[in-house]
Each structure stands twice: as C-alpha cells, then as structure tokens.
C-alpha cells in the first residue's frame, strides 16, 4: 500500500515538474534573454555594477518601445566576482536558464574562463571592459566581441601614427619599468619590429623618480631616433621632454594616456608643445552619451560608474544585431554585428572579424598652444 502510494506520489511530482517546465519554456519563448555577467559583488563590484545598470536602462527603453521582434527583453544578471573559477559556473547557470546572448564578463580572466563554455553552446558574448589583447587576437573565440579597446590598442595607434603618418624610420622606445608603461612599450616594440618600414633603435626602462635623466637623454640623442615612444606617466615624461628640449633636441615625443593629462602641460609648460599622446576618444559631446548619463542620474540618483557607456553601447549593439538579424540564431547575429552599424554613446560602431569594435578606442592628441587637441 505504502509503496503504491509512494510510486503514485513520485509520478505526480514528475508530471507536475514536466508541466511546469513545459509551460515555463512556452512562456519564456516569448522573451529575449540577455545575460549580464560580471563582478556584482566583492571588491571589484564597482566595475560590474555599472554594466547591470546600463543594461537595465537600455532594456527599459527598448521594452517601452515594444521590445525587439515583438518580444520583450529580459535581463538575467549573474555574479562572477571577477574570478575565473566562479565565471565558469556563472556561464553554465546562464546557459541552463536559456540565455540568447551575454553582455559581460567584466574582468579579462573571468571572461576568458567563461568564453569556452559559451563557444561550445554557440552563445555570443560581448564584454564592455575585458581589455586583454589575446581575447580577440588569438582567434580562439569567434563568439567574443567587446566595446572597449584592447590593451595594445594605444601602442598600435602610436606606432601606426609614427610610421605611417609621421613617416619615421628610427624609433626609440622607453618605459618607466611599471606594469602599465612597460606593457605598452613591449607592444609598441613588437609592432615596430613586425613593420619593416621602421626599426627600434633604443629600448630602455628608466627609473621613476630619478634625480635627472640626462644620461638617457644623451643616449636617445646618440641613437639618432626620429621619435621617442614612451610608456608611462607624466612626471617622468615631462622630465625627459624638458631635458631633451633643453639639449636642443627636436626628437618627437609620443606617449600614452598616462601622459594625456593636464598636469603634464602644467609642469612641462612651453616644452610640452608639440608632444603627441593617445587618449580615449572624446565622447563628452556625443548626444547619446549625454542622454545615457542623464538617464542614469535620473534613475539611480548618481553619476555613472566605470565602463557604464561601454556597457550601454554593448547592450545596444547586441539587441540591435538581434533585431537586424531577425532572430537570435548565432550565425545571423554574428553577421549582423559585423556588418550593421549601430548608434551608441561611444559613436557609430560595428565589429571587425576578430570582434573588436571599429570606431571605439583611442585618438591621437597633440599639445597645441597649451592644450591637448584631438587630431582627426
């Protein structure tokens, strides 16, 4: 009797479960599921939370206009605490919930760990903040896109500018031995070496905070370089530039966004004139960026956090591609991402074959009459 009842009970539960899951599927088929993954708690939460807010704002906006392809968009936010070992679970959980596309993850390491899982399930993943160059350049992850320039983008731009625009043949590459400066300098050196139009005549690290740099400056002079590409921050950059100019050297100085700082001009004064530096593209005058920031202030009562605009653009790009593709199917959405331009707060963007956004990233600035001017 007991056994019989238990059997019946189990069958009933199973039937119920099946009914619910079936109806569940039936209901959610009408929704487009946007996964938002990243650090939503822990010490790096300040990088991840703004992306959730950005996604919410975009989705509210789109749902208010009737959704995409007649369907409402639903956000599934999952935390990965920026840890690779957690990110694989996050990805699996999102997949089990049936996401169509994922906006995230935030940190490069976590993104890389999750990407393999998305790739096997043919899910597109777009990060607003993962800058590790290999994510796109290795070609391992055709399902990966990003709306931020990779770490080597500045170095690539600097080298390209020096060789192709300024037509320089001899380039000295210096850095301040720090993670940021040395990383950039290494990329710059590699790009110049790959290019047969120019050569690296000097590659050195300087000691930050040293009393003076006269020996290094003499060395630059002796190397007969046309230009110096410097990876590092403004205090060292201004010392080097000033000592070069005082030695009557006209060597062009090209640097990075660590130098694209007004303090550099304030300190180096007249010697700063003519210095080139790369910096993030100016989006402050973009009406969509202004609108997005305003919407954030209205909804959350605060200034947006890190990568907010990148996440805003990523959400827009993903949803736009689904709309243009007419489905959430992997091949069609990928094609739409690569071919269809979309207006975002970062400007008008689409993606190249590797998944990097075209139209996002850095510009060259030059000090002209005491201010940095963006060169078009």
């Amino acid at each position: 009797m007991n056994n019989h009842l238990r059997g019946l009970f189990i069958t009933a539960v199973m039937v119920l479960v099946m009914i619910f899951t079936l109806t569940g599927n039936g209901l959610t088929a009408e929704m487009i599921k946007l996964g938002v993954a990243g650090a939503h708690s822990g010490d790096l939460a300040s990088y991840g939370i703004p992306s959730v807010k950005a996604a919410k704002l975009v989705v509210e906006d789109i749902n208010a206009k009737g959704g995409i392809l007649g369907k409402k968009v639903e956000i599934l936010a999952e935390d990965d605490v920026c840890k690779p070992e957690v990110a694989t679970n996050t990805a699996t959980k999102l997949l089990s919930q049936g996401v169509n596309v994922v906006m995230g993850h935030i940190c490069s390491g976590a993104t890389k760990a999750a990407l393999g899982i998305y790739k096997d399930s043919k899910i597109i993943c777009m990060s607003p903040s993962a800058t590790n160059p290999a994510l796109t350049q290795s070609g391992d992850y055709p399902n990966f896109y990003r709306t931020i320039a990779s770490d080597d983008a500045q170095a690539r731009l600097e080298v390209d500018f020096a060789i192709n625009v300024l037509k320089f043949k001899k380039i000295a590459v210096l850095h301040d031995k720090g993670d940021y400066g040395k990383g950039l300098a290494e990329y710059a050196k590699a790009f110049i070496e790959k290019n047969d139009k120019a050569e690296v005549v000097l590659y050195e690290g300087v000691t930050p905070g040293a009393v003076d740099y006269s020996a290094v400056v003499q060395k630059i002079k002796r190397s007969d370089a046309d230009a110096v590409i410097f990876g590092g921050y403004h205090p060292e950059a201004s010392k080097i530039v000033m000592q070069m100019r005082k030695k009557k050297m006209k060597t062009i100085f090209i640097s990075d966004d660590g130098v694209k700082d007004d303090t550099f001009i304030k300190v180096a004064q007249k010697y700063a004139e003519g210095v080139y530096a790369t910096g993030p593209k100016d989006t402050s005058k973009n009406p969509l960026a202004i609108a997005a920031n305003e919407a954030h202030k209205k909804e959350f009562g605060a200034e947006p956090g890190a990568f907010f605009l990148n996440a805003y653009a990523a959400t827009q790009a993903l949803l736009n591609a689904i709309e243009k593709a007419g489905s959430t199917e992997y091949e069609a959405v990928s094609k739409a991402l690569r071919t269809e331009y979309v207006e975002t707060p970062l400007g008008k963007i689409r993606f190249d074959d590797r998944g990097d956004a075209i139209g996002v990233g850095f510009s060259i600035y030059q000090v002209q009459n005491g201010v940095y001017v963006e060169l078009k």
Binding site: E204, T207, V211, D212, Q218, M242, Q243, V267, Y271
Partner: protein, 300 residues
C-alpha cells in the same frame, strides 16, 4: 669621445647634487652618530621655499638672476631654520637615549615633514621655473653640458671650498672637529657642544637647500616626495665614501653619480640602480668603512 664627455659631465652634475645632500648626512653622523633621515625632506623644503619665493618675486617683475639669488637665500635660511628646529624637537631630547631611539625619531620626522608639505601644499607635481638662465656665451657648448648643469657644478665646487675652509680654519670648524673626535672631552675643554651640534644641522640643511634649489630649477618640477629618493641616494653616497668623512661624502657622491651615468650610457638604464648598489656592496666588502672612512673601534 663627445658622448663620453657628455656622460661624464652629466654624471658629475648628478654627483654634485648628491654631494650637497650627502654632506648633511655625513656631518651629522660625524658629530652625533645619528643618521638624520629627515635630511632629504629639508632638501625638498628648500626647493618648495624657493618656488614660493620665486613665484612671488616674479609678480614684482624682478630680473631672473635677482630672483635666483633671493630665492636661494630665502630657501637656505628657511631650511636652516627647519634643520635647527628638527634637531631641537626630535633629536636633542633623545641625546642620551639608546642609539635606536633618535633613529626612529628621524624616520618619524621624515614622514611628518613629507605629509606636512603634502597637506600644506599639494600632492601634484608643480612646475618649477628655470631660474638659471641660458648663458649666451655658453651656447656653443650647451649640447654637451647645459648652462644649468654648469651652474650646478660651479656652485657645488664653490660651496665645497667654503665648507672646507670653514671646517679647517675657523673656530666653529675646530669646535666641530673636536666634538666629532670626542664629545665629552670637547665639553671638558669648554666647547659648547649643543651650539656645535645646532650649527652642524644648520650648515647641513643650508647645503641641502642649495641642492634643492639647483636641481629643481634644472629639472623643472617638484613634489613632496622628491626628498625621499634624493635622500636615499645621497645617504648611499655618504656610506660609499665613508660616513662621517666630509671628503668621503663628496667622493662617494661623485663616484655614485658617474657610475649611474655610465651604466645608463653604456649598458642600460634598466640597470642604473643595479650598478650603483653593486658598486656599494663591492666597496663595502673590501673597505667596510667606505672609501675614505676610518674604521674605528665601536665605543660601547
């Protein structure tokens, strides 16, 4: 050859700046056996004072040389006052304490002065006007050594000569040497030891201020942290030359400056500090008291 000369003169300039600071370390050590870690901060305060004075005087439209001289004099007086006060506050009450106590007090003073300037001024780098003009007659050689570097070399040489004269031939110099040899004995024969110690701090601080003004106007920028790095290097130079010995401090500074310059010029600036400190280790292995240091038995 020209390259060698450029590196040589560059190293000499850097060494001269180290020497101006190292002298303060070595004089204080010679007399009260204290490593005055706040000394680098006095150099920084000298540079800041000069910047403030120079900015104000520029408003009055004085000419450059007048500004340089007035700013330097103010910086020297102000820094000397700081050196005097630091000694009275942080070291004098600890004169008869264990040797470790004044050392900790010195480190505390260094941190205090750094943060005081950080709060009172700013944490940013500030532009420092090139107070040293580009001399026209020197224009032809300015690619080898600039006017500013030339002024640094000449000023340092003059200061060294004056200091030597002071110590060798004046009464206070004699009192300083006596105190350095044996403080108690000097006291017994009527030397006012407290006054001598104060004077040592004042002279050391004044020298550091001269260094601060010269290097700041040469490299064109200062912040609250410059004293720390310069201080560490100058201290190294003083140890290299034999701490407590005045010619040793000068020699050690020049050796350190030249080593750094040549290491950068002929090897790589990546290894600038490696060479400097490898040299220090080598010299201390063969001459534990430094190049010109006298190895005395420790008084217990």
């Amino acid at each position: 050859m020209e390259y060698f000369l450029e590196l040589f003169l560059g190293g000499l300039t850097r060494g001269s700046i180290y020497a101006l600071i190292a002298l303060g370390y070595t004089m204080v050590y010679g007399i009260i056996e204290l490593i005055n870690f706040a000394h680098g901060e006095i150099y920084m305060i000298g540079a800041f004072t000069a910047l403030i004075v120079a900015s104000v005087l520029t408003l009055f439209g004085l000419n450059q040389i007048a500004i340089l001289v007035l700013a330097s004099i103010t910086a020297v007086i102000y820094s000397a006052a700081y050196g005097f006060t630091v000694e009275k506050i942080a070291y004098k009450p600890l004169r008869h304490a264990q040797r470790l106590s004044p050392l900790i007090s010195a480190i505390g003073m260094s941190i205090f002065l750094q943060n005081y300037v950080l709060l009172a001024q700013t944490s940013d780098f500030l532009p420092f006007p090139s107070l040293i003009p580009d001399f026209e007659f020197w224009e032809a050689y300015s690619h080898i050594i600039g006017s500013a570097e030339l002024v640094i070399l000449i000023t340092t040489t003059i200061v060294m000569i004056l200091l030597t004269f002071l110590i060798k031939f004046t009464k206070i110099g004699k009192a300083m040497r006596a105190t350095a040899q044996d403080r108690n004995m000097a006291m017994l024969v009527g030397v006012n030891v407290n006054q001598v110690i104060s004077m040592t701090f004042i002279i050391g601080s004044a020298l550091a201020a001269v260094g601060g003004v010269l290097i700041a106007s040469h490299i064109g920028m200062i912040n609250f942290y410059i004293g720390f790095i310069a201080g560490i290097k100058a201290f190294t130079a003083a140890v290299l030359g034999g701490i407590g010995s005045i010619p040793g401090a000068v020699l050690g500074s020049l050796v350190l400056g030249l080593t750094e310059s040549f290491a950068t010029g002929y090897v790589s600036s990546d290894y600038e500090d490696v060479f400097a400190f490898a040299l220090l280790v080598l010299i201390l292995i063969f001459r534990p008291a430094g190049i010109l240091g006298r190895s005395t038995t420790q008084k217990v």
